[in-house]
């Protein structure tokens, strides 16, 4: 009796895996989500409450769901109200190592290719793996190391950009030249990058600059000419940790870093508080950052039309200084600019938004829109067609997505 029952269950199990992808495909064509059990059950809690997201050109919301051993990818066609079954990215279990300042990344290109970047501990603590899918997440390429010195150097704080042709840029903090500079102090690393535009081949690592503050995430964006622009907290003379812009020039050489912001934050420390950048279609770079400098303290917004040579002044102070405002993000869509940041009242973390209709000249009132208890990721602003969305994940409430209106 027991044996027959088990056989029947096994047959049902096999049929499930044969039929499930077909059913899912059929439902996709009608824009509906099939009510399927997860293919891989990752449980309900993402590692440290951190979930990465991106929109595909067709409006599908993709999310990367990390656990302590695996990376999963899922999609939603109803703006996050429900998600598909889970697709596993890494075939072998790994020790996934992420934190709020160093989250995994998912990016979907115009062609629909899904790119995934995540961190795991290997020979050296924290290095990055890259994988992609060309079949809507059903299969992923074998994850490859991005760093060519992964066994001996830390590799973290990555950014991934996908340009209009599908060329992928990776940027990261690298310790291969050490973490100390005799003139600048401790916690000083190099900024590296590589590109990926073919199915095969080694990712050739190239240094952009030294003098990068090790523990503050570097921000990147594509300019209207499709070339990357970087905003980084650098360690400057006398150990001042202020922000500089670097861009890829038309001759494909990197510009020298231009100190765009002068806060005079002289500190030999790990602030764990990186900036953000978004560039509008007329080439204005919108910048947000955190500082505890001599000139100002807190989070701020400014913009520049010439990549840091001239910057709007004075910077716009954001947030309630009694609520530890931090980790701001910025998104420019046409003439509109959206800002989001987090505040903490001692019990809960709140997300506050503000927007401009005139490229950062004037601003709406600030508005608190989301709250959550417990550990949280940093807020993220993402674009879908002409719309702005706030995405935020936390241990307390999971993934929250909010369309930002322009009231």
């Amino acid at each position: 009796m027991f044996k027959r029952s088990k056989k029947k269950t096994s047959l049902q199990f096999i049929w499930f895996f044969i039929l499930a992808p077909l059913l899912l495909t059929a439902c996709q064509s009608t824009g509906k989500i099939a009510s399927l059990k997860p293919y891989h059950d990752h449980g309900s809690a993402a590692l440290k409450g951190i979930i990465a997201t991106d929109f595909a050109p067709d409006g599908t919301l993709w999310r990367l769901f990390p656990t302590d051993k695996n990376i999963f990818v899922e999609y939603s066609t109803d703006l996050g109200r429900s998600f598909s079954r889970s697709f596993k990215v890494n075939p072998k279990q790994q020790k996934i190592n992420i934190w709020a300042e160093n989250p995994p990344i998912i990016k979907v290109s115009r062609s629909g290719r899904i790119h995934v970047l995540y961190y795991a501990d290997e020979d050296q603590r924290a290095t990055t793996y890259f994988s992609y899918s060309d079949d809507q997440g059903r299969t992923f390429s074998t994850p490859i190391l991005v760093s060519d010195e992964a066994a001996t150097s830390m590799h973290y704080m990555d950014q991934m950009l996908v340009d209009s042709t599908g060329k992928v840029y990776f940027f990261w903090h690298d310790t291969r030249h050490g973490r100390h500079d005799p003139k600048l102090g401790s916690g000083v690393v190099s900024l590296y990058y590589t590109t990926f535009d073919s199915l095969n081949g080694r990712l050739q690592n190239q240094k952009i600059t030294g003098g990068i503050c090790s523990c503050c995430r570097t921000a990147t964006a594509l300019a209207p000419n499709d070339k990357p622009v970087i905003l980084a907290r650098m360690v400057l003379e006398k150990g001042i940790r202020d922000h500089a812009l670097i861009r890829l020039l038309d001759n494909n050489q990197w510009s020298q870093p231009i100190q765009a912001i002068t806060d005079d934050w002289r500190v030999d420390a790990c602030p764990e508080h990186g900036p953000a950048i978004s560039i509008d279609d007329q080439g204005r770079s919108h910048l947000v950052w955190f500082t505890l400098g001599e000139q100002r303290q807190g989070i701020f917004y400014a913009h520049t039309d010439d990549y840091g040579h001239h910057v709007s002044h004075p910077p716009l102070a954001l947030g309630d200084s009694s609520q530890l405002p931090g980790h701001p993000d910025v998104l420019a869509i046409g003439n509109r600019v959206y800002l989001a940041w987090q505040e903490f009242d001692g019990e809960q973390t709140h997300i506050v938004v503000q927007h401009s209709h005139d490229r950062g000249a004037s601003w709406s009132n600030r508005k608190q829109v989301l709250s959550a208890p417990g550990r949280t990721a940093h807020p993220q602003l993402i674009q879908q067609n002409d719309n702005a969305y706030l995405i935020w994940s936390s241990e307390g409430k999971g993934l929250q997505l909010l369309a930002i209106n322009n009231d």
Binding site: V188, C270, L324, F344, G346, P373
Partner: protein, 157 residues
């Protein structure tokens, strides 16, 4: 002669310190910090918040060791803001830096921000973060690695 004596003294203290029992990091939860501080009531105290991944913190440890050897009666408490699961790595780092005999703690709340807020509602989380308490337990917070001269000045003030 003075140089010889101080070197001998330093070697002596190093041997004594290495022979001491190792202090396993304790779990810092909500309320632990207040207990930690109260335990050292009416005495000068230094509390150092650090992380195993913070280069500035690791560099600062050489200065802390010097101060500890010169002022063994001064309580210096090391609090790692790393996840509690990293306690073995925290201890290994303290042993490597010759500081494992100091009182040691590691963050044990999943919401580190809430724990930080309870310690100091003006602290954004940058490390190293040092708190110097005088005998009346008036507290002064400093962010970033500081020199030995700064340490001595802060201890004297």
């Amino acid at each position: 002669m003075f140089k010889f004596l101080s070197t001998t003294l330093l070697l002596f203290f190093t041997v004594v310190v290495s022979a001491n029992d190792v202090n396993e990091p304790k779990s810092l939860r909500l309320g632990s910090y207040q207990e930690l501080v109260a335990k050292h009531d009416a005495k000068p105290l230094v509390v150092v918040f650090w992380s195993i991944t913070c280069a500035s913190c690791l560099k600062e440890m050489a200065t802390i060791k010097e101060i500890h050897l010169e002022q063994p009666g001064l309580p210096i408490v090391m609090v790692s803001i790393d996840d509690n699961a990293e306690a073995p790595a925290v201890l290994a780092t303290l042993q490597d830096k010759g500081l494992s005999d100091l009182e040691s703690w590691v963050f044990a709340e999943s919401n580190a921000q809430r724990l930080r807020y309870e310690i100091d509602s003006n602290w954004y989380g940058e490390i190293p973060r040092l708190y110097f308490f005088d005998a009346d337990h008036k507290r002064r917070g400093i962010s970033g690695k500081i020199s030995k001269a700064d340490w001595l000045e802060l201890l004297a003030s």
